[in-house]
């Protein structure tokens, strides 16, 4: 276990170093993809427990607006401080909404979570102080007044995203191997049995919901800092749908699935944009269909297949 943690840390450092030589567009694309990967990692925790949230956009958008609004009012560009605010506010809201949501399963959970994100969308569209549907601009991030290039640029946000994904990834990897992590699958398989074993199903789901909200808030905060602009579209249900799409693409079998899925999704989308500006949606749709048909457990199942072949 220690070895694999070191391996992930090493990979994080390598990816960060690669950012120095990458073209700018790729750095930016990877930053956004990694931020989405964070949100989908949270979604993965819920999916393992058999719950599909169509409302992670709520925390993604809330995290982004926390960073934007706090940055404006407190006049700070300190990324760590802003991301902390985003996570705290998201967890606080999830602590309230979660009390209600963890009573529901299946389609009811999906629809309820979507309803809450659409409420945030509706409120933001009506609030002209936050720029209504046009949103507003966010200043680029600094780390206690420092940036890697001396001036604000995409590299800073990239570094934040890589660090966040590495740290959260290691956490989720270990969490999924802890009793609390396995409890998720147990809940999916048989709730009554879990209760008889002496665990509270509601508590298990509640904690997963809080963790997922924290990750979505962090992802939203990083997106806001990287893109420099936020709008209510981040809370719209299509954004939440995109996260589910990425989860299906990457696969829910492993923590790396969401990250691979997100990077793949962004790469396919941007090249689809370039190759066929009129029918890029079709290319994305065909890609998902192909993955569902040939790799029902997502892209990650390829890795599993090859490692299994090797060990057997």
């Amino acid at each position: 276990m220690r070895n694999s943690t070191l391996l992930v840390l090493g990979a994080g450092v390598a990816v960060m170093a690669a950012g120095m030589v990458m073209p700018g567009w790729l750095t930016f694309l990877l930053t956004l993809a990694l931020a989405k990967g964070l949100v989908v990692m949270g979604l993965l925790l819920l999916m393992k427990a058999g719950l599909v949230s169509f409302g992670q956009g709520l925390y993604y958008c809330l995290g982004a607006y926390c960073v934007g609004v706090a940055g404006d009012y407190l006049e700070t560009q300190n990324a760590l401080f802003l991301m902390l605010i985003a996570v705290v506010v998201c967890v606080a809201l999830a602590a309230v909404i979660g009390l209600l949501l963890c009573r529901y399963r299946d389609i009811f959970f999906a629809m309820f979570s979507m309803a809450f994100s659409m409420i945030l969308y509706g409120v933001l569209v009506k609030s002209s102080a936050f720029g209504s549907s046009d949103g507003f601009n966010v200043k680029p991030p600094l780390l206690f007044g420092w940036t890697p290039t001396g001036e604000p640029g995409p590299l800073m946000a990239y570094g934040l995203a890589v660090t966040a994904v590495t740290v959260v990834g290691i956490f989720v990897w270990n969490y999924l191997r802890s009793p609390m992590g396995y409890a998720g699958e147990a809940v999916r398989e048989n709730e009554i049995r879990v209760e008889y074993l002496g665990s509270s199903v509601r508590r298990i789901i509640y904690i997963k919901y809080l963790l997922a909200a924290a990750m979505a808030g962090l992802g939203g905060g990083i997106t806001a800092l990287a893109a420099g602009h936020i709008d209510p579209e981040m809370a719209y249900w299509t954004t939440s749908g995109e996260f589910v799409f990425i989860a299906l693409m990457g696969g829910t079998g492993h923590v790396a699935g969401p990250v691979i899925g997100a990077v793949l999704f962004e790469l396919i989308r941007t090249y689809a944009f370039q190759i066929s500006p009129y029918t890029w949606q079709m290319i994305l749709g065909i890609a998902l269909l192909a993955i569902i048909l040939y790799l029902p457990k997502g892209v990650w199942s390829l890795v599993e297949r090859f490692t299994k072949e090797k060990t057997s």
Binding site: F28, V125, H229, T270, I275
Partner: protein
């Protein structure tokens, strides 16, 4: 399974390879990024007319077939090669795509953006990449009021003047006006349009009653409840900034229920539907075109050429998004050629930027003055008229033209502040 994997990876490899392989760029080619809606609800009314206009103008420019002062081939003699990008996907996606256009595709400059959200998001990227970016259609005045940019220009006027001019027009047409109502989409453009209209009308005619204001969802398509509310709370004038399918649906559903029999609608973007709905628009409806475009465009050589060529090729008259696209490309071309006069060889982006600032030029819609936002934001006159189908052809009567200085705030003052203070310094004749 393995063979299907091989097939798929070959396919993916081919895709990536074809995308990464950069076409060899000839030295005398000018790569121009063009961003408009090619999918979604804004594609039909705005994105596609703008793209059609760009196709037509770029082809004619490359052949050197335009009237003076646009008769030089391409841009400063370089053949223009357009690269189209769909504006769909939201502001973050567009910020990302602008990077791709510049860093992956190597465009020289970009003309584009219809959505105000995108226009707020992309300038920061344009500044970072030091790429000349011309915003051609979006309306929010916040772009240059909240920030100032070096490499970003907007050749289309802001939405403020649409609604301020609408107030002036109503004051003239309805001397006994005592009530107005409004129906606008529930998003930034709708809210801002209503606020500007209501604010300026209150300053021009005090004590006008607002009977009701409706904000249905954008792309709702069904306005039964809102039309009932407008009928029950009857007013002299109904203000609406609806566009595209929403405006068409509202007109058709409202006409069927007799909404426009004793109430007059002010459609601030109505010009864009004039030809599509020629039989359905009620007689006397007040139509705006977001500037002197389309039917309101002046009778000059450029406009005659543009209208004839556009109708001949696309079998419909050009609407305002088409005019604004041409205006954006012309501004970029003129600024580049003006900058080239002073230097040897091709001018740098910075040369073009300083030539573009405070540029005054003629487009198919008349004079464009880049005299707002530190020389980066255009102002133009605004025109309103009333729809008439009596001659059997769609036309407008009672046309009034408001000079730019009458319907735009003075340099350095924000639109909201200007309207709140009662529009000081407005020079109307």
């Amino acid at each position: 399974m393995i063979t299907s994997f091989v097939k798929k990876s070959t396919l993916a490899g081919l895709l990536v390879a074809s995308a990464v392989a950069q076409p060899v760029l000839a030295a005398d080619e000018y790569k121009l990024g063009l961003v408009t809606f090619l999918s979604g609800g804004a594609a039909g009314p705005f994105g596609v007319p703008a793209k059609n206009a760009a196709d037509l103008v770029l082809e004619t420019l490359n052949a050197g077939g335009l009237p003076a002062p646009y008769n030089m081939k391409g841009i400063n003699g370089r053949t223009i090669k357009p690269v189209y990008v769909d504006e769909a996907g939201g502001a973050t996606k567009q910020a990302s795509e602008l990077r791709n256009l510049v860093e992956r595709q190597g465009v020289d400059s970009v003309v584009g953006y219809i959505s105000s959200g995108d226009c707020l998001a992309v300038p920061a990227v344009a500044e970072e990449l030091k790429t000349l970016t011309v915003l051609f259609d979006c309306g929010t005045p916040r772009v240059f009021e909240d920030s100032s940019y070096q490499y970003v220009f907007r050749t289309g006027p802001t939405a403020t003047m649409d609604n301020v001019a609408a107030s002036h027009y109503i004051k003239e047409m309805f001397p006994k006006l005592d009530s107005v109502s409004g129906i606008n989409q529930n998003y930034s453009f709708g809210h801002e349009s209503w606020a500007d209209f209501n604010g300026s009308l209150n300053k021009l005619i005090p004590n006008v009653e607002v009977t009701t204001k409706q904000f249905p969802k954008i792309y709702a398509g069904q306005y039964g409840a809102e039309i009932s509310a407008l009928m029950v709370n009857s007013a002299n004038v109904i203000h609406s900034s609806f566009w595209g399918g929403d405006m068409e649906a509202f007109l058709l559903q409202g006409s069927a229920r007799g909404l426009f029999e004793d109430q007059t609608a002010v459609l601030t973007t109505g010009e864009s539907a004039m030809y599509r709905l020629e039989g359905q628009i009620p007689e006397g409806t007040i139509l705006g075109g977001r500037g002197p475009f389309g039917i309101y465009a002046p009778d000059n050589a450029l406009n005659r050429w543009f209208r004839e060529a556009y109708i001949a090729r696309f079998e419909t008259a050009p609407t305002y998004p088409a005019y604004k696209m041409v205006q954006g490309i012309f501004g970029l071309k003129l600024a580049t050629e003006k900058a080239a006069e002073k230097v040897k060889g091709q001018p740098t982006t910075e040369d073009v930027v300083s030539a573009f600032e405070n540029l005054v030029y003629e487009g198919p819609g008349g004079t464009v003055s880049m005299n707002m936002g530190n020389g980066h934001q255009a102002s133009m006159e605004m025109v309103y008229g009333r729809y008439s189908h009596k001659s059997g052809e769609p036309s407008v009567t009672d046309v009034r033209r408001y000079p730019a200085a009458c319907v735009n705030p003075p340099e350095g003052m924000s639109s909201i502040e200007w309207i709140e203070k009662g529009m000081p310094g407005a020079k109307c004749n």
